[in-house]
Symmetry: C2
Subunit: 350 residues, 2 copies
């Protein structure tokens, strides 16, 4: 008999986007920030005494949590810090769902959510978005834990704040509003984490703070929810270097905001360029754009761009298989992408 | 109704040892290495371009796993790398135990093991060690997953290799041999991970490599077991800095071995010093010593040493409450500890 749990044998694990060797591709496939992190990060690393690494890190990441609490105007007990927001999400799946409970999420959304339900061996309760990927919620919908990405991935769509608030207010379980991309959006939902005792807002330094290489995310919400996550986390879940580097980044909001503004401007150019090529372009409030190509099947276009040295993201499946997700890179990278798409368009006409 | 899972409300979380502000105490409470990591770690960090942190780390930690595979003479598919060995242990609890399965471990041993069973909501199946903390295993004992710390913590005792081998061969479930402290011991069990398809050996860079501040551990074993852990881990479980620093440390065995030799020498002095004071001293093959004080209750002695600025570890409970665990620090730290114990002894005679 196999010693491996049956559900693990059956599990289709989450597949992260390709991480090729540096320099080989124009890399627009995993929503990384094209600009480096705050210079304060490099300063913090240069000032870090490697000898200190012999000691355990602060298990509570207290300085980091204090900074997050200050940023969002909440008490420290309302903040959890995790090894990337992936750890935050995984801990929520373990903290808020009984064995006979269910985990809900939209389709399409971040493809990790159903995997977290499978790992816990609890029911998945997906909700199909409208055809144009806007909000749709059936009456009487219920589950123990709902993962709500806002802006959504891979679509970039920002559900209206009032819609989300009404949903959370009427929901009996815990709602995790996954705001990984919210610094590129027009409005966040942090107020709901402060007001409602069943809402956690999850954030990460991976995208807007240009620190995907670190693994630091956090959650803000009611202290009872936060305390549950603390009970379940690995004792020392964030290493000393990451705590130090993340703290430096979170102390330089100006740098993050300037980069986010540049990315939003480039996003506008990308959306216009795609529309000019006849693609369907969904309104993005994230650092990526979700688009349906004018003629070529999305899968083929993805493959041909890869041959041209440009990596974007293709998600097979009924709801996603005719679209592509393009990360907003630098202006030059987006110009190269649009030029390649124009050439594909022209060669397709031959 | 509380949205928090009932088992989480009931959970008694693992309590890590106190991490006071630096410099306040002679810190002999959490088995940290008193010597700094290899200079190659500082070099790796100095050479690390902070700009790279905008990109995700290698999700597979391939370079790190390749180094571990080379060190232990196993194929790369036989190596898993985790965010500290705590992540490795937690993943094992999720990979190898069905809902109606049980997790086994010795009592006393690393107090995280029962917590991992509680988090999974599966049965605990503890095995009481002999009165002198040596191996004792009841006939017909069975469970899905057995955590076997060797050397054991907090006792420092190294079960005979042949005993462990026979146990693993006759055991139907998975055995995780937790070798966090094995670099301070006379013999490891890595051969069992190579030979037996139900054995994983877990290691960490926290202790012998002086890198508790990083969170890097690994497991070696049958590729099927390793693949199960890979399915369950967070996609990017080890950040880019930690991968780089751990790789540097693992490439400098000489530094680690020299420090481990110094610690073993100091351990001998500590054991002799404690015995001279009339304490019962258990034979340690780790970087800590488990001892029963001659007269004062262990809890009182712990508290009085703390007042004197020396932090050691006290574990309440039937099997552990009359003993103390002392981390092997520098010679000067151990001299200070022994002097303080002598003074306590003398003041007790007044």
């Amino acid at each position: 008999m196999s010693p491996i749990r049956r559900s693990v044998v059956a599990l289709e694990a989450y597949a992260p986007g390709e991480q090729p060797p540096p320099g080989k591709f124009i890399k627009l496939n995993t929503n990384e920030n094209p600009y480096p992190p705050s210079p304060r990060v490099a300063e913090a690393l240069a000032a870090f005494d490697a000898g200190r690494l012999r000691l355990y890190p602060d298990p509570a990441s207290a300085a980091l949590r204090a900074r997050v609490a200050e940023m969002h105007g909440v008490p420290r007990e309302a903040v959890f810090a995790g090894n990337g927001s992936d750890e935050v999400l995984a801990l929520c799946s373990r903290a808020f769902v009984e064995r006979d409970g269910a985990i809900g999420y939209f389709e399409p959304s971040y493809s990790l959510y159903p995997v977290l339900a499978d790992i816990r061996e609890v029911a998945r309760r997906p909700v199909a978005l409208a055809d144009d990927f806007t909000w749709r919620m059936p009456a009487g919908y219920a589950c123990a834990l709902f993962f709500l990405a806002r802006p959504n991935a891979p679509t970039g769509i920002l559900y209206p704040h009032a819609t989300v608030r009404d949903f959370c207010r009427g929901f009996a379980g815990v709602v995790v509003i996954d705001e990984a991309y919210v610094d590129f959006a027009s409005r966040d939902c942090m107020d709901l984490a402060r007001e409602l005792d069943n809402v956690l807002v999850a954030r990460t330094v991976s995208k807007s703070y240009s620190l995907a290489g670190l693994r630091v995310g956090y959650a803000v919400g009611h202290p009872d929810l936060i305390a549950a996550l603390d009970k379940l986390k690995d004792s020392y879940n964030i290493d000393a270097l990451s705590q130090s580097a993340a703290l430096a980044a979170l102390s330089d909001h100006g740098h993050m905001r300037a980069n986010a503004a540049r990315i939003r401007a480039t996003r506008g150019r990308l959306m216009e360029g795609l529309a000019a090529l006849g693609c369907t372009v969904y309104p993005s409030e994230a650092n990526f754009v979700w688009t349906r190509p004018a003629r070529a099947p999305a899968r083929d276009l993805f493959a041909r761009l890869r041959e041209r040295g440009i990596l974007i993201r293709y998600f097979p499946g009924a709801r996603t298989g005719d679209c592509l997700r393009i990360t907003v890179g630098t202006d030059a990278e987006i110009d190269a992408l649009l030029a390649a798409l124009r050439q594909e368009e022209e060669s397709g006409h031959e």
